[in-house]
Symmetry: C2
Subunit: 200 residues, 2 copies
């Protein structure tokens, strides 16, 4: 390709990167670990990418960690249009699915089609949770708010009246992706209940 042809593709890529800058303004329920403010989706996605690298040995043998990292970098991009959904709000979670698919069509569709396809597939794979990569990625995504709440005397759990059995349903998803991280998350839940930071 000539530099001019590279530049045509670059224009589409730049439209995409300018668009996804908005992820920095999508605010999640949970706070930073230090409790100082609520977290945004962009910094959350960075965090999970590093977690995937650092906790790689807790994924099943043979898991493609670089694919997990790529998946985590794009896993929340649909929330630019669809917004963050609180995982314990079941009605909202179901209504969210169509909005997220439309968002994926629009946002990944800004890229040249040979690039839009593979990135969209990473997101579909993450959501479907059928591969070791997606299960490990999802485990980290579910672990993150449990960690944040644990470090903040229960954090959003009390605020939104979340119970231990609801959190344990997410711990089961963590266990699917990583038995070690699942066991750790289970301990955090038990400790939080004992401390009175999470209702039975």
């Amino acid at each position: 390709m000539t530099i001019a042809q590279h530049r045509d593709r670059l224009d589409a890529q730049l439209a995409f990167v300018v668009e996804i800058d908005k992820l920095k303004r999508v605010i999640r329920r949970n706070t930073l670990i230090d409790g100082s403010r609520r977290e945004n989706d962009a910094e959350h996605s960075w965090q999970l990418g590093v977690w995937a690298l650092v906790m790689a040995e807790h994924a099943p043998a043979g898991t493609d960690i670089d694919r997990v990292v790529r998946m985590l970098l794009v896993h929340d991009i649909v929330e630019i249009d669809a917004g963050d959904t609180f995982i314990y709000d079941r009605v909202a979670v179901e209504a969210q699915e169509a909005a997220e698919r439309a968002a994926a069509d629009r946002i990944f569709g800004l890229l040249p089609s040979d690039q839009a396809g593979p990135l969209r597939e990473l997101w579909d794979e993450f959501e479907a949770r059928q591969t070791p990569e997606a299960r490990y990625a999802k485990a980290l995504d579910r672990l993150a708010p449990i960690m944040a709440n644990h470090h903040n005397d229960g954090g959003t759990w009390a605020l939104y009246k979340v119970t231990a059995s609801q959190v344990l349903a997410n711990v089961a998803i963590i266990e699917e992706g990583s038995p070690t991280l699942g066991a750790y998350a289970h301990d955090l839940v038990e400790t939080s209940v004992l401390r009175g930071h999470l209702a039975r």
Copy 2:
């Protein structure tokens, strides 16, 4: 390894991930692309990881993009201790180097040593800028504030009295990593000068 042995290593990994959560509170000079507020290092690192994937074709053939992504995820972690340095403040940049090495020793040193070494090497490689991966990663890192300023009528350039020749020194670093991105950055600088957003 037994689950108990995994858990011993996990404790060190968790200490690391809790520590690096602080990167979300290290504030850079440049704003988000929409100009709404200044950017933090964590969301900046996420952004560059996605840019690396999406603009991969503008890196030299054979560049290991997954290594670039890993490098970018950890490239600013030292700033938790050493703080962000404005790239046009030459005196501060030189004084910064020792502080960043000490920060790398401390922060990566929280991990089990078999993990601390490879992550530290990624950071050393990024800083040395001798491999195609490091040069491409650094190109993206230098492109990001130029993009943000271009979208904000010059942004921090006027505020800190930065001139076009100073920005062009960074464009040369972008060109080393990617001729196409270098040409694009050069155009942004010229346009910004013509619009009166960057002094000659």
